[in-house]
């Protein structure tokens, strides 16, 4: 995260350099969050634009109770969800921790994984796997494990409890591990 008070002060003075820093620091993060919800680049670009413009409008009232990044993520999340809700109904996720799925695929990746790293479209495989998660799990995984936000900040962005963040993160990790184990084991076996 950045030195928010200093950046805020410079942004309020409409410093072009401060805008560049803001854009450089947060545009990709907001875009990643948006594209993972709206699932297309045109809408994600619109969300980035909307989020930054709303931030400029809010700038002089921004009290610094939340971090700039957390604020931008929260507005991006809500704007993205609003867009998707106009097109389809989002499924409700099961929060029952007692029904945590147990691992089924138990294969070490070490050999097959290293062997296939250059041979498969790794990024494509990762994106395909994460698209299978319900949006609520995908968001928590993205914010916690990709963007490396804290549990508290993730909870603030998504307006859920820290406990729910932990449950969803655990589910997301286990489900992704399961899918990727299948992928890497399968690819490795084909190469043997």
């Amino acid at each position: 995260m950045t030195d928010d008070p200093q950046l805020l002060q410079q942004l309020r003075q409409r410093s072009p350099e401060a805008f560049q820093r803001l854009f450089q620091q947060y545009s990709d993060k907001v875009y990643r969050l948006a594209v993972s919800i709206v699932q297309n680049e045109d809408d994600a670009e619109d969300v980035v634009q909307e989020v930054f413009i709303r931030f400029f409008e809010y700038l002089d009232r921004f009290e610094g109770r939340s971090k700039i990044g957390t604020w931008l993520y929260r507005v991006a999340y809500n704007a993205s969800i609003d867009r998707v809700r106009k097109q389809r109904v989002l499924p409700v996720v099961d929060e029952d921790i007692s029904e945590m799925p147990l691992p089924k695929q138990i294969h070490a990746w070490s050999d097959s994984h290293r062997m296939t790293m250059d041979q498969i479209d790794l990024v494509g495989q990762l994106e395909a796997a994460i698209r299978t998660l319900p949006e609520s799990l995908r968001m928590v995984f993205l914010l916690r494990d990709v963007e490396e936000l804290s549990t508290q900040d993730t909870a603030a962005v998504l307006n859920i409890t820290p406990g729910a963040v932990k449950v969803r993160l655990h589910r997301a990790r286990l489900q992704l591990r399961e899918i990727l184990t299948g992928t890497f084991a399968e690819t490795g076996q084909r190469n043997e």
Binding site: E41, P103, A108, H170, R173
Partner: protein, 83 residues
Amino acid sequence: MECNELVQYLSDYIDQNLEDDLIQAAKDHLSSCHNCRVVLDTTQRTIFLYREQGKRTIPADRRQRLFDQLQETFLKSDQDQGN
């Protein structure tokens, strides 16, 4: 600790959010359970892969367009404020 408990605590173990006695119990179990070691290792690799490869960026053409439009709006908001 049994396998199902290890799986239940797996994320907290990875994130180092467990009490000392549970960390020790998990370590003891892992030292004697091959399957749980595999699950731990592949879960950590999953997180690592996404952290390394999942940071998609805005395509260059969209990025430039966004930058230009937003910079103009940002600087114009100063004039609006002054009026």
